[in-house]
């Protein structure tokens, strides 16, 4: 008995011949591409967010003081004097409670900083002037008055000292990464709308093709829900196949892009780790695409059936 039931069930996936429809493969490819693009966009957005956070965390509470290699009158400051001036500035800054950490870079540190331009010479000739650099960690909420006070104290020691809070170029970079984050959000919304339009169109087209079968089911007393379930199941299977393909492509392409970006050696892009939120969003994206496919098919099907007798 069970074999007969099994046999009849195995041939009967749907009361409406949805499996025989042409265009199913096209729809699977389209949704798979949408899924891949969505994962790519979410990953891009998450990377931009992570980078901006990295820069913010790394530089927003930092300040660099540069003692130029030449004094106001244009005379080169001797290395020993430069070390003394740097130490004096360091000592002065330690008096402020808003200064969390101060470190005057020694010769070795400075040589390492200038090595990209001057090479890795351990013993640089003393004729080459080197600036004094003091790295400072400041309180995030430091006031402008306090900054002015600090500047005055530094200038008393070194009148032409340059204080760089990295704000100018940091804000440009943050604006740039912010724009990229918005762009990825717009892209994700566009992908969602494209998926909705494609699925709704496909459902309407299938319902038009199978109008006779749908009408027959209605005449036998089938409820809208009975018919909707068949289209929904069909869409869910298409959706699952699509997101699996899209995710598979993403799993191959995104690490490859990461590898290519890494091999370019772009020093402005730091080593960072994705925030948990971003990681979860990437994992959730295929599920969201699948939900969009199923919900769209249900809503579209319901709307079309409502217009039938």
């Amino acid at each position: 008995m069970s074999s007969v039931i099994g046999k009849s069930f195995s041939k009967r996936n749907y009361d409406i011949p949805l499996n025989n429809d042409s265009g199913v493969r096209f729809l699977i490819i389209l949704i798979a591409m949408m899924c891949f693009l969505a994962i790519l966009s979410v990953t891009g957005g998450a990377i931009m967010y992570a980078i901006s956070k990295y820069w913010t965390a790394g530089l927003e509470s930092k300040m660099t003081i540069e003692i130029p290699a030449k004094d106001i009158e244009g005379n080169i400051i001797a290395r020993e004097d430069m070390t003394k001036i740097s130490k004096m500035v360091e000592k002065e800054l330690k008096k402020f409670t808003t200064i969390k950490k101060v470190k005057a870079l020694n010769d070795e540190d400075i040589k390492e900083l200038v090595s990209p331009w001057l090479g890795n010479n351990k013993e640089l000739p003393s004729s080459i002037p080197l600036p004094g650099i003091i790295s400072v960690d400041i309180d995030e909420n430091i006031s402008n008055d306090e900054m002015e006070k600090i500047t005055k104290h530094i200038n008393k020691i070194s009148p032409n000292a340059k204080i760089d809070r990295h704000e100018e170029w940091l804000s440009d970079l943050l604006r740039f990464t912010g724009a990229l984050e918005y762009a990825s959000m717009i892209l994700i919304i566009t992908i969602a709308f494209t998926t909705i339009t494609a699925v709704a169109g496909a459902i309407k087209s299938r319902m038009s093709v199978h109008k006779d079968e749908i009408e027959l089911l209605h005449l036998m007393g089938a409820s809208d829900n009975y018919i909707i379930k068949q289209f929904q199941k069909h869409s869910a299977i298409i959706g699952i196949k699509s997101v699996l393909i899209g995710s598979f492509i993403a799993v191959i392409v995104i690490p490859a892009l990461g590898f290519m970006a890494g091999s370019l050696g772009i020093s402005v892009v730091p080593n960072f780790s994705l925030p948990k939120f971003g990681f979860y969003m990437i994992i959730l994206t295929p599920a969201i695409i699948l939900a969009i496919v199923i919900i769209t098919s249900r809503v579209t099907c319901k709307g079309v059936l409502r217009e039938m007798l």
Binding site: K11, D15, P17, L216, L219, M220, G221, D224, Y226, L309
Partner: protein, 232 residues
Amino acid sequence: MIEFQHVGLRYGIGPEVLKDISFKLEPGSFHFLSGPSGAGKTSLMSLLYLGQRPTRGLINMFGMNIGQLSREQLLPLRQKIGVVFQNFRLLHHMSTFDNVALPLRIAGIEEKVIKNNVEELLEWVGLGDKMHSLPSTLSGGQQQRIAIARAVIAKPRLLLADEPTGNLDDEIGYRLMGLFEQLNKMGTTIVIATHNQQMMDKFTHTKLILDEGNLFVKEPKSWLKTKLDGVF
């Protein structure tokens, strides 16, 4: 059980295909519906199986005024009606078994019961060995028997059949008429649309005759043709 009062039907802005039709079908009655091609038989059948609503008049079925019912409220009424369509309207991607089982599955009947009932009925209509065949691989007569089996499987209260014996040889045709008679004796109201005068003459049932959208009735005993002037 079914009452039409001054029912008219037109498609779009075209002329009325059914004009001021009034009649009653008592529970357990048996009627032939006949008339020349284009007389409105299919339109009247579609009103009976709730395939469309009339453009005027009242239709009362199973104690409900059809005009006042929503789409959802029509569903339980449709489950009480079995229809044999002239072109069968079988689902060709499904097996014979599944086609016949469809009304029971829609009604949410248990699969075990479906299997027993469908197998028994298919044996009875001579399609026991074609249970798992696709309708497209069967002859016209066999497809017609599937359509009939599908219409009667759920033991409907009203059975409508459009030329149900048209493609069948006399023996199977009369056998199926016997099935209809049997269902009728069990209380099912039956309306059979047919051109087969020989078939109609063999049975003493009321004849509903449509001519240019007007309905006439031929009572079995008097054989008098009476025009129905909107009053029963």
